[in-house]
Each structure stands twice: as C-alpha cells, then as structure tokens.
Amino acid sequence: MRLLDRISRRPWIWSWFAAFLAWFATIVTGGASTLGLSQAALTFAAFSIIVGIGQMFVITLGPGNIDLSVPSTMTLAGTVALKLMDVDNAMILPGLMIAVLIGIAVGVFNYALIKALRIPPIIATLSMSFIIQSAAIWTNRGLRIKPPSVLADFTTATTLGVPNVSLVALVISVCAWFLLEKTIYGRWISAIGQSMPAARMAGIPVDGTRFVTYLFCAVLAALAGYLLACFSGGAALNMGTEYLLMSIAVVVLGGTAVAGGDSNVPGIWGASLFMFLVVSMLNTYGLGAGIRLIMTGLIIISVIMLAGGRQPGAR
C-alpha cells in the first residue's frame, strides 16, 4: 500500500498510465497489431523525446524560459546536413558534425540576445527563429535531397525489435537524467528555476548555467532535425512546425513544473508515447482530422486540470 502511495506521488506515473491506456485501447478496440503499434509509437515518440528533453531543461530555468526556435533549428540542421552529405555514405559524420555545429551556433546567438540585449527569452528565441527559418529557406530552395543510404537504413530499421531512433533517444535520456539528477549542473538549473536571485546569492554561476542550457536545447533540436530528415527521406521546410507545440506539450504533460525548478525525464517518455498513441487511437476509430485535434486539445487540458494546481503563482 505504501509502495502504491509512493508511486502515485511520482509526477511521471500519470503520463505513463495514460500512454498505456491509449495503447491498450487502440489494440483491444481498434484491432491494431501489438508489435506494429508499439514500434511505430517508439519511433515517432523518439523525435519528440529528443526535442522535449532540450525544451525541458530550458523550461526548468523558470517562468518565461521557453525556446521557440526549436522548429526552425530542426529544419535548418536537417536541410544543411543533408545538403552537405549529398547521398554520400562517407559524409555521415561530417553531416552530424555540421548539425551539431548549427545547434551550437543557434544556442550561442539565442543566449547572446537574452543576455546582451536583455530580451525576454520567448521574444529572443522567436526573433532568432525567424532568422533561422530564412536561412533554411535560403539553403533549401525547394530541393529534396535524399539521405545517405546507410543513414536512411539506420533510422528506419530496428535492433532486436526496438527501433534504432528510440535507442538513440534512450541514450540521450539516460545522459539527461544523469545530468539532471547526479551532477551539480542539474542542481544548479533547478535552483535557478526555483529562484534566480536566491541562486545568484548562493554563488551559482547563473549566466554560465543558463547559457549551457540554451546551448544544450538547441543542439538537441538540431540532432532531432538531423535524425528526422534522414528518417523521412529528406528535409522539408515545414518539418519542424509541429514540434513547437509538441515539445512544450510533452514537457508539461510529463509532469515538469511549468513554473520551473522541477523536472523529470521519464515523464517525457510517457507523454511523447501518449501523444502519438492518442492520435493513432483516434485514427483507428476512423475519426477525421478535426475531431482528432479537438480530442488532443481536450485531453491536454484535462490532464493539466487533474495534475495541475500545485504551483501557486505559476503562469
């Protein structure tokens, strides 16, 4: 009984529970194949997990901290990397490097704007996203370059029945969990999220920590863009769009406090799986796009109403 009580206190358990319900409902009532559905869910959730983890770190920094440049960073990294690799298998590593470099550049610019010009993070990353989006349009020019064959195979294949991209997401999640729970850096970002003045008084290098966090978020977004472009057989200019709201939604549904200072990695997994499974559940019932969107929205609101109301003064 005490165990049950302790588990139900964990904020992430709810998103896992919801994901399981949606999974169960799809298979039992919708008649989907167990293996196929699970693999698809793991594959598509992997991208939101990678982006969501970056966004979670930023949101942990406290109210007003949200990275809106995530979708355009994904698009730019995907486009430029595919262009550089140019279907050549030998160029996979340089392609990955350039994607990461783009992420680093975006992170540096984002934080430079926030710090030097004292622009609120939402507006700073928004302005940056306009510029990055333009850069992506400029480099893309409507061309659709295929990914190198090895990489395309890797991202679409499975290892022991588990999709490779979700393994990548798992490795990143473990690293993120370690950073957050076991290192001083993780303690620092939580402290900053709870109270920036207090963190500064306590001698925490606030600027350095925030800088690294924005950098980390942008690099993860770039990585997700790189993988997504290879997975879907080419970069498209709108490929990041849905990840703007998705990245925020999975963080919040996963039980991370929107007011900052409290985050958790397992919740991101539950929420990402849940978001995909809900859509596929409604799909198997044969509902149209309109109903599906409305249901998704109502589910987000009801989850937050059930789980919310614990942070006074939150936005």
């Binding site: 010009l117 302005s127 989006q133 333009s134 919040v252 998704t296």
Partner: protein, 315 residues
C-alpha cells in the same frame, strides 16, 4: 522638459520612434507610398493584427500568455466566412459563445491555478480542430457588411489608419482609464494586494479573458473582411505576431505593465517591416529573417534608451 516626461510617455516614445523611422525609410525608398492608396496598401493587414495584439495584451496584463491566439482567430475567420454570412443569427450566437468560453477559461485558470501557457496550448488544438471541421478546404465568403466595412474609404486618412487609431483609443480607455482596466492591471501587478483590497480577482481575470475574446473575435471578422474568404490556417502567425507586437509596443510579460497605444503601434511596425523589406528588394527568402532582425534592433534600441534614461536620473 525631460523631467515632465512621465514613465508611461517614455514607454510609448520608443515604439513611436521606431514606427516613424521605419515609415520614413519606406517613403524614402518609395515616395509613391506617400498617398491615400499607398498608405492603405501598406497598413491594410495591420487592422486584424492590431486587434489580436490588443487581445494578447489583455491576457498578458494579468501575467498570463495565450498561445492559442492564432488558431482562435483562424477559427473565428472560418465562422465569419460560413455561419455569419449564411445564418447571421447562429453566427452571432457562436461568436458570443466563444467569448463566454474565453471568460470561462480565465475563471478555470484562476480557480485551479493552472499555467495559462498549457491551457491555451490545449485550446489551440481545440480551435484548430473546430476550424478544420467548419472549413476542411479554403473557402467560404465574407458577409457583405464586413467586406463593406473593411473596404470603406473615409475622407482624409485611409481606413487602415482610421481603424488603427480607433482601436488604440478604445483600448486605451478600456485598459488605462476605466476602473475595470485598473483592476485588471492590478491583478498583474500584485494579485494579493488586489485581493486584500476586497476586489474579486476571479472576476477581474474573467473580464480580462472575456475582453481579450471580444478583441480576438473582432480580429477574425476584420481579417475575413480583408481576405474575402477563410481557411483553417489563415491566421496561425498571429500567435507569435501578437506577442511580438505587445513587447515591441513597450509591454512586459509580468507585472501588468502594458500599453494599448504602444501595442497598436507595435502591430503597425511589424506590418510595415514586411513592406519595408520588399521595397528594399531583399530576396523573399530572407524576408522573415529580416523581420526577426528588425524586432531585435528595436528591442536593442529600447535597452539603449532605457539605459540613457537611468543615467539621466542618476545625475
């Protein structure tokens, strides 16, 4: 002279200055724009953006943020182009109903202490779904009276300018001069002290959300009047544009520090930025990016002026 400048006036000076500079630059590049028709073309699309910005500003004045503005305006546009034309009474009822929903959201957010970002994120899916249900493909037609209103040719100044000034004046009186406006901004400034003074904070928040709903509905109707038809994605940009407009106009994310006149000026500046860039013959690839750059420059200017002001005070 400088002493007599109040903080509020200072807050307005920078947005007004940026708009003037941008306008001067446009006239210098293209003298023919300096006419009745030219001005109307330049600012035509500013009217719905200004209305949406005022709506966002009302939400921001109680320390919340509305991420569903774009999808909501799109939804209203769809209602206007379908129901409001064919069955005006039903259309009116729907629009009245959604304003009530907005006020209700304010109540729920306050009572359950929910993060507005997440609730509006969920609502954005709901509005998008409803819009897709109404108009699965672009279509519909603007009601004749809306079309007539938006294409009216008043003497002296074009409709776009007259409407913007009217919006600014109305919003100024509601937000800055009425006791309700003071109460709303008070909630943003210090919720607890408003509560202690015996006011109903729930009521204030509901009023702020309801008013925001009214302005957002007007934005959707005005937009259809200009475009003559609607589609479910017509105004998705408005979420980010409205936030940027409020900030450009001297508003802040927290503390109830907002300026309605500034918000309208901010919306005009954003609209003008687009035209300015096409006059500069910047490649269309970079237009969105240059809009981001203008946003950054204006905010940098604001920081500079604020610093100068502070130095002045210290002496």
């Amino acid at each position: 002279m400088r002493r007599t400048l109040s903080a509020d006036a200072m807050r307005l000076a920078i947005p007004a200055l940026s708009l003037t500079i941008l306008l001067a630059a446009v006239f210098w590049l293209q003298p023919r724009a300096m006419s009745y028709v030219g001005l109307n073309l330049l600012f035509n699309l500013a009217v719905p953006i200004a209305l949406a910005t005022i709506a966002q500003m009302l939400i921001m004045s109680v320390n919340d943020l509305d991420l569903s503005m774009g999808t909501f305006v799109s939804f209203v546009a769809c209602v206007t182009a379908t129901f409001l034309r064919e069955a005006p009474l039903v259309g009116m009822l729907i629009l009245f109903g959604v304003v009530v929903v907005y006020a209700g959201l304010g109540v729920v957010i306050h009572l359950r202490n929910l993060p507005s970002i997440v609730v509006s994120l969920g609502m954005s899916f709901v509005w998008a779904g409803l819009a897709v249900l109404l108009l699965p493909a672009p279509g519909g037609q603007a009601p004749d009276w809306v079309r007539a209103l938006m294409t009216m040719k008043p003497p002296v100044a074009p409709m776009a300018i007259v409407a913007s000034i009217l919006i600014a004046i109305v919003a100024h009186f509601v937000v800055m001069r009425s006791s309700l406006g003071v109460l709303i901004r008070g909630v943003g400034g210090n919720q607890r002290s408003v509560e202690r003074a015996g006011w109903s904070v729930v009521g204030a928040r509901a009023a702020a959300y309801g008013l925001a709903g009214v302005f957002a509905v007007l934005a959707g109707v005005a937009l259809v009047g200009l475009t003559t038809s609607a589609d479910a994605n017509i105004a998705l940009r408005y979420t980010l544009l409205s936030i940027a407009g409020v900030i450009l106009g001297g508003g802040e994310f927290i503390g109830g520090r907002v300026s309605p006149i500034g918000a309208v000026i901010g919306a005009l500046t954003l609209t003008l930025a687009g035209s300015f860039l096409s006059f500069l013959r910047i490649s269309p690839d970079w237009q969105i990016g240059a809009q981001g750059a203008i946003l950054i420059i204006v905010l940098a200017l604001r920081l500079l002026l604020n610093r100068l002001e502070k130095r002045e005070k210290r002496r």
